[in-house]
Structures are given as structure tokens and as C-alpha cells.
Amino acid sequence: MDAFSEFIRGITRDNPILGLVLGLCPALAVTTSVENAIGMSVATAFVLVCSNVFISTLRKQIPSAVRLPIFIIIIATFVSIIRMVMEAYVPSMHAALGIFIPLIVVNCIIIGRAEAYASKNNVFFSFVDALGIAAGFLLVLVLIGGIREILGTGQIVAFGYTLLSLPINPAVTTMIMPPGAFLTIGIIMAVVNYQRAKKRAKGG
């Protein structure tokens, strides 16, 4: 087991959205813009890393009967912390992500990783795993957010900088509305499936 491949695995095969198909709610709800996508991913990454490390540290102490409640308490603690911190120091981001910050608690990725990885592996690898998964989450969220924002508003504006703007006028407003989220992720998944099937048929 080497750390780098564990990290990459989180982005590719075990990609939380495209591979494991977990944590869809935030992936769709907050990706109206790249900025929100990044904000959400960072918050999630914080919780993921902290809880993975914490749980793998304590993994020998946690009685299996109440494993789940304890995981949840740990995760909820970190979520509450990031929620309060964001509310205090980046209020606009907090407002934009709304209810989905507290909902990180129930993001299936985090509890899933705690269950499937952190409770079985040592601290270092749990840390790397969390980083990899978080990176995978970030990439997909930014991709979805980017597609939706550029098509939906004609430009990508993040943290005050206009990163990209298209001469599409008027923009496809539907893309930043709920249907746009489903459509984007549906098409992304179809493309990924298509490529995977093609690769497999060629023996990849």
C-alpha cells in the first residue's frame, strides 16, 4: 500500500460522486457556482480529514456496539465547528451554502469512509485516504459547478475574479436551477460510463 496510490484512488476509482455515488445532495445542491463548490468541498474536506484521523486514532477504543453513534458524534462535532467558524468569518459563503453545511453530518461519504476505512486503518493512511476522497469530491464539484455556472450565467466568477466568460447571451438559466444539476451530473456520468465501457472492451 503506498500513500500516493491511495490518494489517487480517492479521485479515480473510489471517487465519491462518480465512483461510490455518495454525497449527492451537496454535490447537486450547492454547485450553482464554482465558488460555492469550492466552499462546500473545503468544509467537507475539513470534516472528512478531522474525523478520519480522529476515528482511526480512537479505533481501538471504540466499542463496536455503539460504533455508529460515536462516529456520528465525532463527525457532528467537527461539522458544528466548521459551521460556526464559517458563519463568523465567511458569512457570505455560509449564507450561500445554507442548510447544506449542517448536512455535511449526514454526507454519506464521511460516515462511509469512517466505517469502511478509518475504523480499519492507521492514522496516516486514514489521513491520506481522506485527502484523496476530498480531492475527488472537490474536483467533481468544481466540474459540475463550473459547467452549471458557465452555461447558466455565461461566466465563472469566483472570489471576486472573473475566471471565464462566454459570449453566450442570454445564458441557459435552467442550468443553475435544480433541473440543471440533475442534467449535468447525468451527462457527466453517462460520459464516464461510455469511456469506461469502451476501455473495458479494449481490455483496459
Binding site: 442570454p170 441557459v172 438559466t173 435552467t174 442550468m175 436551477m177 433541473p179 442534467l183 453517462a190
Partner: protein, 338 residues
């Protein structure tokens, strides 16, 4: 290789997917011509461009994914034409192009092509375009008409199809000729009719109450409102509603296959369209309403499957009770040569 063998039956009906599509296109030609006459060149442009875009998209997709090219079955052209008819004449020319493209790609082929789609591709595309570029899809212009009554030549704001409800009645002929199934449009139309007449009836009763009328005969007399063309009903007598009833709701892949299911589906269409029309307008209402009905069609179907062994639904048992009264020799009607 002298002879051909195949399983019986060795003859088949004259209806084919192709002839049905062609019949529908033919039935839409009159209203298309009328819209070109009244809206002028923009309407012609929209129709041509949408049909071409639809056919070209279909061709492209089938070539790219190495499927059999089926542009000759008329389905793509029909989708293009239907989208065009749902476009306002002043829409920029890229709207019908995008609409036809979206209908064929996402609406039709992403779901698997002919018969596999769950939502009417025309509606998928129209609703998407409407919610993306609401401003361009809102009908503005009023065709310049003479003194003809509304039913013959629509005197309101319009999409291309709104030009004349009467010219859409080719659809009724297609029902008569069995190109189109009758249950959905009939129940749909009846529901819309009774919904609006009932609304008119209640508002009449309410106004009597407000006026303090006590004479019960006066209340009874309001029943006659069902025989009138009330204001509420006149809002419905527009091209788009006729089009929805005859051409959109009757798209077979998006309606249930069971007989009872089709009746319920027609009712659902009528209700959803009327409710929206009551609060909003009938242009959006017809299209959104049928689109939403598409979404529940599958559920209606699962709930109306033929009864399981030994069980009978309420609907079926009453149906059977009625059937009992009918001479048994009529029940197994002989297949005639059409």
C-alpha cells in the same frame, strides 16, 4: 432458400410507425400553412429550421453511435414540426434550432429512441427552453385577423399553433381513422370542459349568494351554464389546448398502455392543465400540465395492470358487471379486415 418461414400471423395491419407519423404530419400541415399566412416569413423560417434541425440531429446521432438511420420514418420531422408550432413567431431563429436539437438528443435518444422515452421529447425541449429563456418563449404578437370568430381564427396572443383551433381538427379525423387512440383525448377534453364549466357554475352560484337571491329556481337555472360557452370555456378554446389534447397527450410512449390507465391519464392531463390554466394561463398550462402527466403515466400504469390471479380491482369488477348485460356474442368481436 425457396420459401420464407415466419411465425403466424402471416398478414399484418396496414398501420405502421411510419404511416402514423406521416398522418400526424399531414394533419399538422393546415395549421402550419395558416401560421405562415398570418405570421409571415418568420413562421416559415421557424418551421423549416426546426424540421431541418431535428432531422439533421437525428441523422448525426445515428451516424455517430453507429445505429440504423431512421430519418425516413418521419418521427424526427414530426418532433421538429411540433416544436416549431410551439414557438412564438418573434423568437430568434436559434430557439427552434436549439429546441429541435435538444428534443432529439436529450428528449429522444438519451432515453433510447423511438418508444423508449418516458417524456414527450417536444415537451422536454419546450419546457427546458421556456425555463432557460423565458422571455423569448412568451407569446407576444397577435396575428392580424379579420372578423372571424375565435374558434376559426384565434384572436389572441399566440404561438404558431394558436392561429386556428379549427385547423387542428385533422387530429379528430386521425382518431376516427384509428391513427390516434381515442381514450386519452376524449377523457382529456371532457375533463377540461367540465372543470371549466364547473368553475363557471360555482362562480355563478357564488354571485347569486352575494346578491342575496333566495329563489331556489334561480339556483337551479344556473345549471344551464353547462350548456353555454362560458368565459372560462372560451379561454380553453385556443389552438394550444387542442394541440395538447390531440397531438401531445396522445404521444403513445408517454401514456400508459393499459386501457383503464389511459382513461386515468387523460383525466390527469385534463385536471393538471385546467388547474394551471385556472391560476395561470393555458399556454404554459397545457404544456406543463401534460409534461407533469407524463411523469405520472408510469405510475398510473403500474397501478392499472390486469388484476392478479383471483383478484379484481373495483374498476374491473364494475366493468365486468356492465359487460354482463351486454350480449355475450358481441364480446368476442370478429376481427374484420380493418
Amino acid at each position: 432458400m425457396d420459401y420464407t418461414i415466419s411465425a403466424p400471423p402471416h398478414i399484418k395491419s396496414k398501420f405502421s410507425f411510419r404511416s402514423i407519423n406521416r398522418a400526424k404530419i399531414l394533419a399538422l400541415i393546415p395549421v402550419s400553412l395558416a401560421s405562415v399566412y398570418f405570421f409571415g416569413i418568420p413562421a416559415l423560417e421557424i418551421i423549416l429550421v426546426a424540421v431541418l434541425a431535428a432531422v439533421a440531429t437525428e441523422y448525426g446521432i445515428q451516424r455517430i453511435f453507429k445505429k440504423k438511420v431512421t430519418i425516413m420514418d418521419g418521427h424526427a420531422a414530426l418532433i421538429g414540426l411540433m416544436f416549431a408550432l410551439l414557438t412564438p413567431p418573434e423568437a430568434p431563429i436559434w430557439i427552434p434550432i436549439f429546441g429541435a436539437f435538444f428534443a432529439i438528443t436529450i428528449g429522444k435518444h438519451a432515453f433510447g429512441g423511438i418508444g423508449s422515452y418516458v417524456f414527450n421529447p417536444v415537451l422536454v425541449s419546450w419546457v427546458f427552453v421556456r425555463s432557460a429563456w423565458g422571455g423569448f418563449m412568451t407569446p407576444m404578437s397577435i396575428p392580424n385577423l379579420g372578423q372571424l370568430s375565435d374558434l376559426v381564427l384565434e384572436n389572441g396572443a399566440g404561438l404558431l399553433v394558436d392561429v386556428s383551433p379549427i385547423l387542428l381538427l385533422g387530429g379528430v379525423y386521425l382518431i376516427y381513422k384509428k391513427y390516434i387512440e381515442w381514450r386519452v383525448p376524449l377523457v382529456f377534453a371532457l375533463t377540461v370542459f367540465f372543470f371549466n364549466q364547473t368553475v363557471a357554475f360555482f362562480s355563478a352560484v357564488m354571485s347569486l349568494i352575494q346578491e342575496g337571491v333566495l329563489n331556489p329556481l334561480m339556483y337551479l337555472a344556473t345549471m344551464f351554464i353547462f350548456l353555454e360557452v362560458t368565459d372560462e370555456l372560451s379561454y380553453v378554446m385556443v389552438g394550444i389546448v387542442f394541440f395538447g389534447i390531440l397531438f401531445l397527450a396522445t404521444d403513445t410512449p408517454t401514456s400508459p398502455v393499459t386501457k383503464n390507465g389511459r382513461l386515468i391519464y387523460g383525466f390527469a392531463c385534463g385536471l393538471l392543465v385546467s388547474i394551471y390554466g385556472y391560476f395561470g394561463n393555458y399556454v404554459d398550462g397545457t404544456l406543463y400540465g401534460i409534461f407533469l402527466a407524463n411523469a405520472i403515466a408510469a405510475y398510473i400504469e403500474t397501478k392499472t395492470l390486469p388484476a392478479m390471479f383471483g383478484h379484481e380491482s373495483l374498476l374491473e369488477s364494475s366493468y365486468r358487471r356492465i359487460m354482463k348485460r351486454i350480449p355475450s356474442s358481441l364480446k368476442f368481436e370478429v376481427i374484420s379486415d380493418e
